[in-house]
């Protein structure tokens, strides 16, 4: 019997779900990750469990010192951070950390010696013994890679001050910060931007965006890391190059590439009011129908429909829900999150019912714009069936 104590470490609403940053109509969140390793121990995928435990122990015990060294603003954040050794949590609980975008699927696969330090609002996390000994991550709302980097940079300075007295961190003049995967060596930095691209999907131009990213040397992929599926039209653009470029340049390049895709998406959204009106209305209306009335919903379907309903929100067709609520729902409907929230083992169909219940309760507040409800004249399409007249301008349900 697992108590839902994992959730007691975290706010229900993470920092990235809230308002903040730029380009919030398309960009959900910005994330910066830094990979750091100790020279002395083998990389986590190779190190014996004893060494992994030692690394984690060192980091856990060092946290108060690190917090003291990290400057006034961070100190407060870090002292409230939770220390989470993975052995203490069930597979579902660990999965719920992935659902919150706190860590990666690779990290939670094994529990021995793995762990996480995370602030309650999930804005700052220290992944221990993931692919590298340490991964410093910050996750902030909207497009604000600079702010995310400065947060993680301060933490890195404090960690370095504490551990690197005698060159304990793996660093080389040629290859920079050494990482388990040589493709991360150098700055060890991965900057990524989470993008919501439903209009590009409707316009069938998502491949073009992917190609644009690839040509510039970036990867556009799913939000749960390499090889993850794209659900709810959520994509993540991140840098592929880490060596021979400095941090500021990487941040700038990723931001510029992200802005370009944001512009593409906005263009497609404008088309949703004209050329793609029928397709867009179909998708948004369908999403509302499913979310408002369905009694069983799988994660995939719910995520996709939420995405389309959010497009309705951005187009001004859907009212009554905030962007924050959309962000929250994206996480709250995930299987592991429901599981941990309810604190007992749920069967898949039971989860589907709970998920649908949760979504219906939020959809009650949604109001639709006439554009979604009004019936145009059917003369052109030659429909001879009489249709129900539109009852009013805005229907509240």
């Amino acid at each position: 019997m697992q108590a839902p104590h994992l959730l007691s470490h975290f706010d229900r609403t993470a920092r990235w779900m809230r308002r903040g940053g730029h380009e919030n109509d398309v960009v959900l969140a910005s994330r910066v990750r830094l990979a750091r390793n100790f020279r002395r121990w083998e990389f986590p995928h190779r190190a014996p469990t004893g060494d992994l435990l030692l690394v984690r122990h060192k980091v856990f015990t060092a946290l108060p010192h690190i917090a003291l060294d990290s400057g006034v603003a961070l100190e407060k954040t870090l002292t409230g951070a939770g220390l989470l050794p993975f052995e203490e949590f069930t597979a579902w609980e660990r999965q719920s950390l992935v659902d919150r975008h706190l860590t990666s699927r690779e990290h939670i696969r094994e529990e021995a010696g793995r762990g996480l330090i995370a602030t309650p609002d999930s804005s700052l996390a220290l992944l221990i013994n993931e692919e590298d000994h340490l991964r410093l991550q910050s996750l902030l709302p909207g497009l604000q890679l600079d702010a995310a980097y400065s947060l993680v940079d301060k933490l890195d300075d404090a960690i370095e001050k504490h551990f690197d007295g005698r060159g304990a961190l793996a660093y080389s003049e040629t290859f920079g910060y050494l990482t388990a995967c040589p493709t991360n060596a150098g700055t060890g930095m991965r900057a990524s931007v989470m993008l919501h691209l439903p209009a590009l999907e409707i316009a069938g131009r998502i491949e073009r965006a992917r190609k644009l990213a690839k040509d510039k040397g970036f990867a556009l992929r799913g939000t749960f890391g390499e090889g993850s599926k794209i659900w709810g039209n959520l994509h993540q653009i991140s840098n592929q190059t880490t060596l021979g470029v400095d941090e500021a340049e990487i941040l700038l390049e990723v931001e510029n590439a992200a802005r370009e895709i944001v512009e593409m998406e906005r263009q497609a959204r404008r088309a949703c009011n004209k050329r793609l009106l029928d397709e867009a209305r179909d998708s948004v209306g369908r999403a509302y129908g499913v979310l408002r009335y369905a009694r069983r919903l799988g994660t995939r379907e719910a995520t996709d429909q939420l995405s389309m309903l959010r497009l309705g929100l951005e187009l001004g067709w859907v009212k009554g829900l905030s962007r924050q609520r959309f962000n929250e729902l994206l996480v709250w409907i995930r299987a592991a999150y429901l599981q941990v929230l309810h604190g007992r083992l749920l069967q898949s169909d039971e989860r589907d019912i709970l998920r649908a219940n949760l979504l219906r309760s939020h959809m009650v507040r949604v109001r639709l714009d006439p554009i979604l409800i009004r019936e145009e004249s059917f003369d052109e399409t030659g429909s001879d069936e009489p249709h129900l007249a539109n009852p009013g301008d805005a229907v509240s349900l």
């Binding site: 990389f43 370095e160 793996a170 388990a180 060596a185 190059t241 060596l243 021979g244």
Partner: protein, 275 residues
């Protein structure tokens, strides 16, 4: 293998920086000694740092300069750091752990292993076959590059250190093939062991095979110190060369010979960062 005789294993690695150009040599002890006619003046016969030689160069040049004592200490430190970075023969423990990883317990059953080995060396079977059998019998995951001496158990650390250094990381035993297949290095030392190969790969995959950007403070300090040493050395070299020219024009050949020797010593000074 030794680069000169090509017969013995290489146990001495020499990295030089000559006029800003780095070069490397892997030699066996015999050849290294034979070659050590003033090129490696700071090393004595056991390849340890020779303090007297150092003092001769730096101390004698500026006998009244108090800085020199510090400079020497700094230089020594740099030289020691150098040793850390260069692949030195691996320790017995490292070898033992490597062997135990391969399923061979040299700690307790070293004698058994040897007996087993001797038994397989029956007079009727030729040596090569015996080896093959042995390798198959013990199901050793080691590849063929492992020197025979390593399994003879006479000087395991030494013997293993020779070739393993060339093929696999001395610390964690990761081979280049494995690193490439896996896409992951085993430890930080792998980056030293496979330096050239990684440079080659990185220059294709990454923007450049040279890190720019954030540097830990300790590394910054070290970089500055090395730069300082380098400029001092270059400065000294310049001065010596000028004096050599002067001596030659004055036809003072005795002095010129001495100065030339000093120049040789200074140019072979190792002020490098990574092997």
């Amino acid at each position: 293998m030794c680069e000169i005789c090509g017969q013995n294993g290489a146990t001495v690695f020499i990295a030089r920086v000559l006029n800003g150009k780095a070069s490397q040599q892997r030699l066996c002890e015999t050849c290294a000694r034979a070659q050590n006619d003033g090129h490696l003046p700071f090393l004595n016969d056991n390849f340890e740092l020779n303090l007297d030689a150092l003092q001769k160069v730096f101390g004698a040049e500026f006998p009244s300069d108090e800085d020199d004592a510090d400079d020497l200490a700094e230089f020594m430190e740099a030289a020691e750091m150098e040793e850390d970075e260069i692949g030195i023969p691996i320790s017995d423990e490292a070898f033992a752990s490597m062997m135990s990883e391969a399923g061979i317990d040299i700690g307790t059953s070293g004698a058994d292993f040897e007996a087993n080995f001797q038994a397989s060396l029956e007079p009727d079977s030729d040596e090569a076959k015996a080896f093959e059998q042995l390798f198959h019998a013990s199901d050793m995951p080691f590849d063929k590059q492992i020197p025979e001496e390593a399994s003879l158990g006479k000087t395991p650390a030494r013997a293993a250190g020779r070739e393993i250094n060339a093929e696999r990381c001395a610390k964690c035993g990761t081979t280049w093939d494995r690193l490439r297949e896996d896409g992951r290095a085993g430890c930080a030392q792998c980056y030293v062991a496979f330096h050239e190969k990684l440079v080659e790969v990185m220059s294709r995959l990454q923007r450049e095979a040279q890190h720019v950007g954030k540097t830990p403070r300790t590394a910054l300090k070290r970089r500055r110190r090395l730069e300082h040493l380098r400029t001092r050395r270059d400065h000294r070299l310049e001065m010596l060369q000028r004096r050599l020219e002067e001596a030659v024009t004055a036809e003072n050949y005795e002095d010129a010979a001495k100065i030339r020797d000093k120049i040789r010593i200074v140019t072979s000074t190792i002020v490098s960062d990574e092997s």
